[in-house]
């Protein structure tokens, strides 16, 4: 294992590591644009230059991302020579960059912005007009590209070649006319992982149309969560307004309770640094119209009465069946088990099935089971049935995706669901539930890895937490 010295600190690198990797492993920061731990090393941005001591006391500079860590090497990350080189490189990178941070969504989390302050900070020394390139180019239906902001690090291009394998993007032309473009065969539009290039982009060249001009990023906070889009359970950050930046206008108030964007949380055990586009679309999934009050056969009912009625129906049933949601958290499943024990015959339900056009399964992340916690259901409740027994006289349906034609004639229905749906009105008792963003909990993914999601928003009025509800559904008859 080579031992080398970086900024006076002796460290031991792993065999085959570059200076960049070794430094990062030991918490020493070296700046980079094009380098990424999960992508190939093109060494094109040249900002990661470091100095290496020569035997004669001199110093040569070389990029850290492609330099093997060698025994006895003495590296400087901020010598005068390195600083001068970095400043020159920053001058080059910003030479034709519009520096329009004021109207750029990336401002506040832009590597270029941060490095400019850190390594240059001076006004442009150029007297010549900046070159122009395409702005607002539709890279796909989801992503807009600003070629003037692009610093040609090729992270996005490499992502489509090395990770998503769609070969959806390329760098056309040459020299300072080089330009990122999608493949004309539409490969990028079909790339189920395309939105990762937005996070990969170290500048504001690639932006999500869904998030375009929606909020400055410092208005938002990130709540760690788990994508419920399939049984992979990728780690995600759900971005929503900070309390101090809530919109005051009544017209915009709804946006305060919505997710503005979703980004991946790196988790090597589950999703690495990536998520698929479905995770990016969670705001739409969570943003569907909610059920906001209990119903008796479609008629609005007071909450307390509805709970009591449900309790009575459960108590009276002789052969009750519960259809369990695979979107329920481990905590909710445990509460169900604690409340009811073996009162119900259990049927496991896939709340969501693959939608037309959706990638069913691939070799990267996407799994065929489009529910986050089927493994949790099995772990907490054991093996469940797949069909409602014909002799059931009460069916407790928990969550979406149930075909009510499977309910035996004459059986009572208690339905727990979060969203507005025609089926809500068919139940004898309907109770509205919270969604993932209104509670915290855990999901267990297909590989047995359990991940936690945190609450983003308060519980809306009239809506119940399943975890608290189940206790109230145990007891005798309609009396308290």
């Amino acid at each position: 294992m080579p031992r080398l010295t970086i900024d006076g600190r002796e460290i031991e690198a792993k065999a085959g590591q570059t200076v960049m990797q070794a430094a990062r492993d030991h918490g020493i920061f070296i700046p980079y644009f094009c380098w990424h731990p999960n992508l190939s090393v093109p060494g094109n941005c040249r900002i990661c230059v470091v100095g290496v001591a020569e035997k004669d006391g001199g110093e040569w500079v070389e990029i850290a991302c492609n330099m093997p860590a060698a025994e006895g090497m003495v590296v400087f990350t901020a010598s005068e020579k390195v600083k001068a080189r970095r400043k020159a490189t920053m001058e080059f990178i910003t030479l034709n960059h519009p520096v329009d941070c004021g109207i750029c969504d990336k401002a506040g989390e832009c590597t270029l912005q941060d490095y400019h302050f850190e390594y240059n900070g001076a006004a442009s020394v150029s007297r010549d007009a900046k070159t122009h390139a395409t702005k607002h180019f539709d890279l796909s239906e989801r992503i807009v590209l600003d070629n003037e902001r692009c610093i040609q690090c090729t992270r996005c291009v490499r992502f489509t070649r090395e990770i998503s394998m769609s070969n959806g993007l390329g760098m056309l032309d040459r020299g300072d006319h080089s330009i990122v473009r999608p493949s004309p065969d539409g490969a990028f539009a079909k790339d189920a992982y395309s939105d990762n290039v937005i996070d990969l982009c170290p500048v504001g060249a690639l932006l999500a149309k869904d998030f375009l001009h929606k909020a400055r990023v410092w208005y938002l906070k990130a709540t760690p969560s788990v994508c419920p889009g399939c049984e992979r359970g990728c780690g995600v950050n759900l971005w929503h307004r900070k309390d101090e930046w809530k919109l005051r206008s009544p017209r915009q108030a709804a946006r305060n309770e919505g997710i503005d964007r979703v980004t991946p949380i790196e988790n090597p055990a589950v999703n690495g640094p990536w998520v698929c586009n479905k995770a990016r679309d969670l705001p739409r999934l969570f943003g569907r119209v909610r059920a906001t009050g209990p119903l008796f056969k479609g008629a609005p009912a007071p909450c307390e009465a509805a709970v009591l009625e449900a309790r009575a129906l459960i108590a009276e049933a002789k052969r009750p069946v519960a259809v369990v949601s695979s979107w329920a958290s481990n905590e909710e499943l445990a509460a169900f088990k604690a409340a009811f024990g073996s009162r119900f015959a259990l049927v496991a339900k896939r709340d969501h099935e693959p939608q037309p056009g959706e990638v069913v399964q691939d070799d990267l992340l996407i799994r065929a089971d489009k529910n986050p916690n089927a493994a949790g259901v099995r772990a907490v409740l054991g093996e469940c049935g797949t069909e409602v027994p014909k002799d059931a006289d009460l069916v407790l349906v928990w969550g979406e995706g149930f075909d009510f034609r499977a309910v035996p004639a004459g059986a009572k229905i208690v339905f727990l669901n979060a969203f507005l749906a025609p089926e809500n009105g068919h139940a004898d008792v309907f109770l509205p539930l919270s969604i993932q963003t209104e509670r915290s909990g855990h999901y267990t993914n297909f590989a047995g890895v359990t991940s936690r999601f945190e609450r983003c928003f308060a519980l809306p009025p009239g809506v119940l937490h399943a975890e608290e509800l189940f206790g109230s559904l145990v007891g005798n008859g309609r009396g308290a």
Binding site: N167, R181, D185
Partner: protein
């Protein structure tokens, strides 16, 4: 492009196994020699034939100066304007060609007979200035030789 596949197969046989991607450039050369330029349908056919991603062919096409996506005039006049040629009168040759043909570099005459281009060093500095007429070098170019050449091709 499909009718060239037997030729491509012979080319492929000269390469080591597993070099299909290498055939992109030779095939594009051949397609351009056949059609005068590379059309979208050629690209699609080539990608299918070589099993290479479309974007790779697009990148290659956009990068190299000799490859074209559109047709040009019947005769392609390319005047070198790099240092050695400029030192031997290439600037006069270019100016004269522009005047004589009534076009600017990069343009094609209205009758479609000539396309005039300027290019960087053609490696013919000892016989500068050099003019490429389609594939052939015409060296030690003079304004008189240029006139005769254009007259002969008009």
């Amino acid at each position: 492009m499909k009718h060239l596949i037997p030729e491509f197969e012979r080319m492929k046989a000269r390469f080591p196994a597993g070099f299909d991607s290498s055939l992109v450039l030779p095939c594009l050369h051949r397609i351009q020699a056949d059609r005068g330029f590379v059309a979208d349908e050629d690209i699609v056919g080539l990608c299918e034939y070589l099993k290479v991603p479309r974007i790779q062919v697009e990148e290659v096409l956009s990068y190299y100066t000799m490859l074209r996506r559109e047709g040009i005039g019947k005769t392609h006049l390319q005047v070198c304007r790099n240092i050695a040629c400029s030192m031997r009168g290439a600037e006069d040759v270019i100016e004269h060609a522009c005047k004589r043909l009534g076009v600017k570099p990069g343009q094609t005459t209205a009758d479609g007979k000539f396309t005039l281009s300027t290019v960087e060093c053609l490696g013919s500095c000892g016989t500068a200035p050099v003019l490429m007429v389609n594939d052939a070098y015409h060296e030690n170019m003079t304004l008189e030789k240029l006139d005769a050449l254009i007259a002969g091709l008009s």
